[in-house]
């Protein structure tokens, strides 16, 4: 489904991604964990080319994303239309929701199908209502984002991404801007998606959730993938000392305040 090969990315002098390679299969749920500043968000943003990459390849659904590396090692940009077309098949959910504040919940969800896919308003409305119902917000269709709680906003954001019928969903810490009591409702929506077979890459600090939903857990640190494995393996018998160190520091917090039960 998506394949990153030796992706490198610098901001000025700071190299944030130092050659990241990752392949995600159809239907697979990959959770990326790692300390702050390790490049998790940047990597996610490279996958749908919100950031351009300096070298390497990102292949989505057989097509290069944003830039393709030529035989001579040079990279060439992929053109605008093509890029938009690609992006429309990758859903992304941001930490800070980024709902469009001047549209209702329904308007937010309809926006992509109408503007990008050129669907009729009628059709888009049907789809949007369906999706809002699916994330449990059928009754909030006419509310503006400012009238919704954080958890509700994030669920609208998920519905908005799903409205494009994406083949891959990217989640960047979808619950870290939420009050603790609102985390559960969002995680439960994501868990349902996983159970329906959606391919997903999720960056999260919710270790309990990672354990429960991930097919594979990837630990990143300082711009590199340090270790990959099943949740059991990573959480119970991490091989790399840095992974152990990270997990022990995170889980200490985790044991004290368990993540809210979902589903």
């Amino acid at each position: 489904m998506v394949k990153a090969e030796n992706v490198r990315k610098s901001f000025g002098k700071l190299q944030v991604l130092k050659g990241v390679s990752l392949e995600v299969k159809q239907g697979e749920v990959v959770v990326i964990i790692g300390p702050s500043g390790s490049g998790k968000s940047t990597f996610l943003r490279c996958i749908n080319h919100l950031e351009s990459i300096d070298s390497g390849n990102v292949i989505f659904d057989g097509q290069p994303v944003g830039f393709k590396q030529l035989a001579n090692g040079k990279v060439m940009p992929v053109k605008g239309k093509e890029l938009c077309q690609l992006r429309s098949r990758i859903g992304m959910v941001f930490q800070r929701f980024n709902l469009f504040p001047h549209m209702t919940a329904l308007g937010n969800v309809m926006e992509g199908p109408v503007t990008v896919l050129g669907k009729s308003k009628e059709e888009a409305r049907h789809l949007a209502e369906e999706l809002l119902a699916k994330v449990g917000l059928a009754d909030k269709a006419e509310s503006f984002p400012s009238q919704l709680s954080g958890g509700q906003q994030q669920r609208v954001a998920i519905a908005r991404a799903l409205a494009m019928k994406p083949k891959l969903m990217l989640f960047d810490e979808p619950t870290s801007a939420l009050d603790p009591e609102l985390v559960g409702e969002v995680l439960s929506v994501i868990k349902n998606l996983a159970s329906e077979g959606m391919t997903m890459i999720i960056v999260t600090h919710e270790m309990g959730f990672a354990r429960e939903v991930a097919d594979r857990v990837v630990f990143m640190d300082e711009g590199k993938i340090i270790e990959t494995g099943t949740p059991e393996q990573i959480f119970t018998t991490p091989r790399h000392p840095r992974t152990r160190e990270f997990l022990s520091s995170v889980l200490r917090g985790y044991e004290k305040v368990p993540y809210p039960q979902v589903g």
Binding site: Q85, S88, M92, R96, N98, P101, H102, T104, V116
Partner: protein, 223 residues
């Protein structure tokens, strides 16, 4: 009829002429607003675009226009261009001068408005597969719009008042109508007081409309 130092009969006599001038002032202001906003929008987009030469050109434009008095710009357009073989009509010069000048200020206002929109909005729009221009039209500009209203209202009033300057290129708007009347009648007091009141009325009507618009938008937006 006398009101303090003002001869009301005389005022009634000159009113038609002043009203004609006021109509021209409104006409000029209207065109200046329309074209100024268009120019401002494009220049603002140029100044935040990824293309260096556009950014540079936009910067040059706003720098020069905002750094030189409008009076001088009008002179340049009227006489300078004529010497270069481009003879423009007064009305054209007036509209171009006011629009180009207003455009520079409006560009800065729009730019600030766009930049004040959270970066995440653009990212969310792009990640849905929108093109840059779709994202601008559907997501960024509608949000910027509301924040733009107050400074735009001010700028429009400034344009209305600046239109008084085109009297130097012999456009007979309100200001020059007043001057012509004083030439013919040699009675400055009534003429200038009336003209001043007319300006005040026009700018006040404008302010009121903008205030209303702002309030209406505030309500329709759900927060």
């Amino acid at each position: 009829m006398q009101l303090g130092p003002l001869d009301i009969n005389f005022i009634l006599q000159i009113l038609p002429n002043l009203l004609l001038g006021a109509v021209m002032t409104i006409k000029l202001t209207f065109f200046a607003i329309v074209f100024g906003t268009l120019i401002g929008l494009f220049v603002a987009l140029a100044k935040i675009s990824g293309i260096k030469i556009l950014r540079w050109l936009g910067g040059l434009y706003t720098w020069v226009i905002r750094g030189v008095p409008l009076l001088l710009q009008l002179m340049f357009l009227y006489y300078g261009l004529a010497f270069a073989g481009i003879v423009l009509e007064e009305f054209t010069v007036a509209v171009i001068g006011l629009s180009v000048c207003g455009g520079a200020y409006i560009a800065e206002i729009i730019r600030a408005g766009i930049l004040s929109i959270d970066k995440g909005q653009m990212e969310a729009a792009l990640s849905m597969g929108m093109t840059y221009s779709q994202a601008m039209r559907r997501v960024i500009l509608p949000q910027a719009y509301r924040r733009l209203l107050p400074p735009m209202g001010n700028e429009f009033i400034t344009l209305m008042k600046d239109s008084a300057l085109v009297s130097v290129i012999c456009m007979t708007e309100l200001m020059r109508a007043a001057m012509l009347l004083q030439n013919a009648t040699f009675r400055p007091v009534e003429i200038f007081v009336t003209a001043g009141l007319m300006y005040l009325m026009m700018t006040t009507v404008f302010t009121t409309i903008f205030d209303r618009l702002e309030r209406r938008l505030a309500i329709s937006d759900g927060d």
